[in-house]
Symmetry: C2
Subunit: 137 residues, 2 copies
């Protein structure tokens, strides 16, 4: 048996993006630099991240609609409605976001990163390195 | 205010991998083919996935230790202990796993996929397409 799967926010996004209508559809489509501000409780987990690291952030889209199972890709109603597991829509049963970013600077519990399309205040739930080739692991 | 961030399992892994000691460290290091068996409640979200699709599965490592914040990378004690946000260790504050797979076959609510290092019974919480170039989105 698995109990409830409860995520604890480890950080929050600080960004100029305030509304969904402000945000680009993906980080590499004009998203701004932003700060990710971590909780003191995960300082040790964060300790080895340095400027230049390529990371994957996993966020919780707290303004998403979890009941949505199909969307028109990129909001284009000329495209057929598509099951959300074949799209990157934030509206989905478990509203997790994946964001590939580069660390521009580290200031204690704060990371400055590029290309983050998440809205201001979005909870961050995990951080992972982008994997290099097998021989670099 | 954000309430508790509760994930609902959307699928389970069916795999020959039974124990953590059986599993390779990453999916491209000799992981087996496996089945991902979805819940009826997400049939519409799954509807457009077809054989050949490249997907990212997000799993919940239900046998992980969430209190761990530093590990020796790849279990190699000759390497210094490293903050888990700089590693892919399943032991981390929020035990989410990222797995890049190719769909080999679709049979109703079951996807046959390659290269999945998750253990038998692991909950799956999200499925996303691998993003192509901007002009293909």
């Amino acid at each position: 048996m698995t109990g409830p799967l409860v995520l604890h926010p480890i950080a929050r996004v600080e960004s100029s993006l305030q509304e969904r209508t402000d945000a680009p559809r993906q980080g590499d489509e004009g998203a701004p630099d932003a700060w990710v501000v971590f909780d003191e409780s995960v300082r040790a987990a964060l300790a080895d991240i340095t400027a230049g690291d390529e990371l994957i952030l996993i966020t919780w889209f707290d303004r998403a609609d979890r009941a949505v199972q199909a969307v028109h890709p990129r909001g284009d109603t000329s495209r057929p409605a598509t099951g959300v597991f074949s799209t990157r829509s934030p509206d989905r049963p478990n509203p997790l976001g994946l964001h590939r970013v580069t660390v521009l600077a580290v200031d204690g519990l704060r990371l400055h990163v590029n290309n983050l399309e998440a809205l201001d205040g979005t909870p961050v739930v995990d951080v992972k390195p982008v994997l290099g080739d097998i021989h670099e692991r």
